[in-house]
Assembly symmetry: C2
Homo-oligomer: 214 residues x 2
Amino acid sequence: MQTIVAVVGGTGAEGSGLAARFAQAGVRVRIGSRKQTARSIGEQATGHTNADAAAEAGIVILTVPLSAQVETLKSIRGSFAPGAILVDATVPLEVAIGGRVSRILTLWDGSAAQQAARLLPGVPVVAAFHALSAEALGNLDHPLDCDALICGDSAEAKASVAQLAALIPGVRAIDAGPLDNARLLESAAALLISLNLRHKVKESGMRFTGVPKA
Amino acid sequence: MQTIVAVVGGTGAEGSGLAARFAQAGVRVRIGSRKQTARSIGEQATGHTNADAAAEAGIVILTVPLSAQVETLKSIRGSFAPGAILVDATVPLEVAIGGRVSRILTLWDGSAAQQAARLLPGVPVVAAFHALSAEALGNLDHPLDCDALICGDSAEAKASVAQLAALIPGVRAIDAGPLDNARLLESAAALLISLNLRHKVKESGMRFTGVPKA
């Protein structure tokens, strides 16, 4: 049986894009929203509150701004099914404190993903999907042109997320090591935002050369 | 007249690789060494002490470990020709304090390149070449498969370095913004080292998709 995926914060650009791509690949997706039930997009992707979205999922993907990460995790952590994985895609952008979208903050835990892991003891946390352009994800008729780096301390959880990532056309999943490497992935996402701004594009991405698949 | 390039710390793997590639492209290269005169490699690439190497160059490339960066800059800063550019390729790896090669330190100035700029007032500093694999550079018969991100506060200096980078077969230069973005490039280099270790390869690289040339 295929894993059910919840996208918490699934009404934002990044979350909607991921939800639409996974639904397109035949995955059952539960879209979570902050204040009310999110809009369903077809039978495959149904709308819920964040906590309800998470409750029946095997993989819960968090796609919220840094300013909402802690609060959202606290609001859903009681709803995780046994064995469910959290995929944190938070980029600790300075914009959370009124700064720039192309700069990151240094968090006490080292990275947003490690902060998530601290808040969810016992839940395998994987850092992934930071670098997939929301614009490119939303453009359902075109494959992406980028790799998905995946960090985490559970090899099994990483493998599940790698499998999920590879369902998006054009995406190659790459194992990028333990969860404390997430800060490097979060930095790389800020670098892409910076390139987008500088070059007036919206879909910059990264391909890694000389590295085998996950 | 073509700019003369000095590679300070040019006897290390990264420095030698860059020196050999530029010499191959017809650039006059001055290879600098820490304690004595570096070995010349043909007419095109001559050996010197670090200070002598820098003295006659239009572009001085620094390729030393973090532990040697400050001392080396202090030893050569009196030798810069008027208008000469410093290209800093230092990655602030934790190994400098006995830690790991796949982790970086947070420096007071924000990045190794900004630290270099503080030590060289009046010299345009450009951050570049962190992510070019020494192994791949040294393999002169094969083109590289990666992009060279370039940060700096002087558009003119960045353009000169972009021109130089593009002389290496397979390398595309990309403008990555102001010098304070260098921390993102330094992080990305640590990410590549981490991928090399994890996947037991030596030539991982990055290509950016959806971004035009510098």
